[in-house]
Symmetry: C5
């Protein structure tokens, strides 16, 4: 079990070295774990007149199709097939570095303006509360004037509610440009963060209970692991703040004035999720103190038991020693009940002491 | 009790996910706990000629009313009735995102300029010193050219003194614009912060006494909880600083030059309350050290008791052992008073040691 | 004693809530402790031709007086008489907020430009090394084109050397404008800071000696209290840095070019006092480590005593046990000197062990 | 072994004092360890028409050679021969300070624009996981309009893949300017950082296992040493961020617009490697807590053993004392099996207690 | 010894209060310790034609001298004679504040542009490794168009190599302006920092060895003292960074374009020395952890000894108790060798236990 845990962390901190070593920059190679067996291409064409939806199993299939509506949303699940990406890149005239970044699923969140389109890398997370592991997927978004391209490592279901909304007859989103669609995608990603942050918060509270109940070094390791996860999450969300801020300042022409009001809302949510995450991280930081204090208290309790034991037995042992001395004349010795009197004294002293400890709450472990 | 405490904290850090999941952005749904049974609308119309005050139980009632004075202050207690908000939004031409933010009571404090009005979200706090829980309410303020709208989750009484001042005949505030009214509202909110910060400071000092008297892990948990509360408070006040600063720099046209001098005063108060809060937080941070040191000291005391006990009994036990040896010739053995002489030696040694410990203050628990 | 200490701190962190609650902003009420029984007004009129000095017990007295020199320095000790301030305010045309800030002696240091005069709030400190309490007074300075007004809570004597310098015949300061006088006032305040910081540094070094000699939780509390005081001091000096910097940049027209060179000097001193204070704070931070380490060491020493005791007595007790066994044939038993031989063995073993401990320095408490 | 470790660290932090003391600035002296016996000069001349490659053992050899292609890449391994550098400096008209910086291998990474060329100092690392030592080499790059000069302390092999790529017939890199070559060199250096950071991450995880298994002060020292190494690495990478950022902002004319897109990629990688390194540093910081907690736990375990032992023996010893008393009438004494009954009681009490400890897991070390 | 240590620190943190109290600003009084008995004035006149060097014991002597070369370097050792400074000030037309700053040897490093000259305050350090005390001297430099003035508290020898270089016939420095001379002075000061930082680094490593070998609270105090010294050093070097940066940006006209390239070099060295110092400070910070961990380990070892002792003696004591019981029938009692059998059992049990402890390494102190 320990091995697998270390393995998990190593995957997280491991960089992009091995797969790319020796290759010239710009080669189209998928870097990262393959997370789905069969890639799938989904195309939604829409405008104020309606919506049309297609699914293609291969890039060949899609070649003959001409969409009947003005705006396009092309989504790809599964990135292992570099050929698909190559053809999409040619059709939408994407820069080789963009394709490379889409395929290399270890990117930091960022936004880059390539003149005729905006390229955006996002990271969504999934927290498995049972095994306390944080998984993540990279989602790349390309926003052009009349198209949005999204690339995911596997089917995450994160964009399903948006598709449902598009399918509704006369949906308001149909009347708006692709920048509004891009906003709803961003909004969906941020909403997912809230869920993961809440799960991490629940885990932290669970760990707080554990730390008070049974402080073990293994628990400390778990606390650090969760702390590490929150740090990972923060590092993924933090750049989003910058990105949104630059979009808000109107540095990019791809978002229209009225959509920018909505982006301000997404920005607020991002700040909110960062603050909630910071609260979780503080709680985890305090956990360390609680843990160390619980360990100290346990030591106190154990020293106290030792003290109690010594205290209960030392007088009795002294009494046996006294009556074990070899003086020729000693009181009670010749008395037939002397032995029992001695035992009674021992018991009485021990009982008196036990009562004193009881009052001090020292007999509670 | 523990469950409820965890529950409390969870409510605080829990984000806005569940209620909003699946809904398109912009839907008017109240997010947050319902804190009053019956919403109430209060309308104050005033200008230099006088003041008129009305209360409406429903939005329908208010439709027929035409105010006789130029400037309006409309206050709503209770937000669960989205219909009220919808109608107010239509009348004062508020943007859907504003209405959404008013209803979602998990907003961060912020100020947003919508061109024809200024939208401001504030958070007021209430500290229950007995149960050591910090409650908070969201207050939204909309400042237009001749109107101020305020929205509260429940009747907090925080604006009551301002109403009293308005009702005074020839009150100077009547002669001034709605921006001055907005300033007095802000001032009232900041004053409330001072009260809560003082209460937290008193709690921190109480905890300091407790930490020195009886350091238990449960106390540590309480300290962390209060620390968490101060953090929460700071996070709510901090953005206000930015907001006021931007108003001071004259970025918004809604505050006139002479009102801005007063805003500078509110700004000073905000800085002051933040610094006072930081002093409380430092005290709480030091508490952790005091607590850990008190735990260490208790361990020292317990080890010392063990040492004292051992020291008092070991010589006596050795003496009993000596006279318990089976040598044929031993001094005192045949002496009739030998037994008592041995006991006296034991008592003398123990008394001498006890006296030594007494001088060292080691007998004090 | 504890109560009073808590009381002291509470006074420091307590905010301005109670005295002002319910009053409209701008009312002239003295907020803070009354520190002198009879307010006093001192007026110094000076220019290159000479100097004239007057003292007034009430504001009424001063009405008939017309100064013979061009530049005025009006100083007020004691602020409880709001009437005095009201009249001064009217004569020098001060804004109501300025008067309010002068009377409310819980202001943060700040400088504000009101167009026709500069308003400056400073805080001077006094450290009582015996009781380890830090007291502070607010000093407000108003600098106009030909006048300087200073307001103090009580007679602090801080400006006395400046008065002496003015009284010297043909003093160079007489030839210069009121901005140079304002500079000497600032310089006097900063010099006072140096004294207080040195006192705090001495206290910190005293506490370091105490921490090594006798680490008690009460000492820890004292350390935290002094740390709190340095924090308080820093918070009062820090804004001065900003204020002086803005004056240096020439943002205010009240300081002439050649006086600004002197302000640069005051700025350097302020940085210097902040750095000295930071050195003291570091020392206090390290004190915590020294204290905790001293507590740990004491625990080590106590465990060591326990070990030494056990080690000295266990072999002797074992030997008594051995000769206390009831075997029919045992060596030495029948020997007339056997008892003393056994005692000698016990003593020898104990002495050998004591010597070993002596070499290890374990007998030192 | 300890001496060598200290020696290692000292070499790292030791500054450039001794070798340079007394010399006028600008003297050409190699400062640093000599890492290769024979310096070697490699010259690659290339343009879109082809590539030509030469190796020279001395600078004299190279004088007669005239390259057939437009762009030059001159690489020097081994810097102890100041003469080589002097001649290269004269040929390419480098400033004396540049030559001095190349020879002094204790430079911080930096980039400097000398008008007709760009001078860049980089630092590459090598981590020996077995001995846990971090070695570093300085690489200096001079980028002129049609030439790139690289200077290395020894053959590191870091640029070998780039040479291979140049040698490929019709390699795309041949068609691009020397700025693109400089970019590939930078890219190779950053890739090397990823490898070293991964190795440090593995070491940190190994140390985490060790800290839980056997916490010794020596381990703590190792943890601090690795922490020191990560700090060293960070300090070398951090300035690169600035350097790349300034190149991205187009402050230097040596990188063309289309190469700058690739630099943005290198910049992203640099941020990524810094973040990965920060994750490693956090892990190392947490290690300290895990270590201290493991030490505390071991103390708990040892106190517990003491308690268990005392608990097992005290009752038995008391029982022997009881039956060792000299009362004339005692139960069991005259009984032939009395002795065994007493032993049985002792064993029973000890067994009962052992069972209780077993249930509490106190017998596990 | 303790007193002197405290005294040392007090001198360091003590501010400039006492000597200046009551004096008007601008008075020429030497503030600080007098470090040399007889002040000395050295004058070097030089230009491309040669160099002339004179020494004057008093300012009177120097009046009749007219230098034969264009550029002047006037150096003063010993500042207690305010008269010297006054005359120099009048001759070179220095501002009174400059003279005051030169005489007050508690200045922070800074650079100030007075229009016709540049005034620069530096601080050089000297570390006495034996007594672990850090001494410092203030060096003031005034750079005019054709002169450089340097003022030192005593003969530090820091500028001796520069004088030697000037004395060399046809030295390149003679051909350059006084700004180049000023650069070499700065360079010499920075080089001295490297030496002191290396000494502090060696001390820190020595302390690390001590912390592992014998952790005492006095050592902790020494660690904090050295930490304090590094802090002091950092505070003196840090402003230099700013100063050099402003010179590099060309804010001052006193450094010509080609000299600025050399200043960039000095700037790099300053950054390097700061980073080396930071590495030393980190090491000192880690020392605290190593120290605390060593203290903890010593406690563990002592508890372990207690456990071992108890474990070795308890069984033996129990056995003596068993054979000391007064049962009429006991095995071995009547056996002539019984006594020795019992002793053998005791020894065997103790030996078995000792062997077990040996395997666990518990007998190692």
């Amino acid at each position: 079990m320990k091995t697998s845990r270390n393995g998990t962390r190593r995957r997280k901190t491991k960089a992009i070295t091995t797969a790319k070593a020796g290759l010239p920059p710009g080669s189209l190679v998928h870097v990262g774990a393959v997370k789905t067996d069969r890639p799938e291409i989904t195309l939604i064409a829409y405008d104020e007149n309606g919506i049309e939806e297609r699914r293609f199993a291969s890039i060949v299939e899609s070649r003959e199709y001409t969409p009947a509506h003005e705006r396009l949303w092309l989504n790809v699940h599964g990135l292992q097939n570099a050929e698909i990406l190559g053809e999409i890149g040619r059709r939408f005239q994407l820069h080789p570095l963009v394709l490379e970044d889409i395929l290399n699923t270890h990117q930091r969140p960022k936004i880059e303006d390539y003149g005729s389109y905006l390229f955006c890398v996002l990271r969504v997370f999934e927290y498995d509360a049972a095994s306390r592991t944080l998984g993540s997927d990279q989602i790349s978004v390309v926003l052009g004037e009349n198209f949005v391209l999204t690339f995911q490592e596997r089917r995450t279901g994160i964009f399903e509610p948006i598709r449902d909304r598009l399918r509704a007859p006369l949906a308001p989103v149909l009347k708006r440009g692709t920048d509004y669609l891009a906003y709803t995608l961003l909004d969906a990603v941020i909403d997912r963060y809230f869920i993961v942050v809440d799960q991490l918060g629940d885990t932290a509270e669970q760990l707080e209970d554990d730390a008070l109940a049974s402080p073990t070094p293994a628990l400390l390791r778990t606390i650090n692991l969760v702390k590490h996860d929150t740090q990972l999450l923060r590092r993924a969300i933090w750049p989003l703040r910058e990105v949104l801020n630059s979009l808000l300042r109107g540095e990019s022409a791809f978002f229209q004035q009225d959509t920018r009001l909505y982006l301000r809302d997404v920005y607020d949510h991002t700040i909110h999720v960062i603050e909630t995450l910071d609260a979780v991280r503080e709680l985890l930081g305090d956990l360390m103190d609680i843990y160390l204090s619980a360990v100290s208290n346990r030591l106190n309790v154990e020293v106290r038991i030792l003290t109690v034991l010594t205290t209960l037995f030392l007088p009795a042992t002294l009494i046996t020693g006294i009556f074990g001395m070899n003086f020729e004349r000693m009181p009670l010795i010749a008395d037939g009940q002397g032995f029992y009197v001695a035992l009674a004294i021992m018991a009485a002293v021990a009982a008196a002491m036990a009562a004193a400890f009881w009052r001090r709450n020292w007999l509670r472990l």
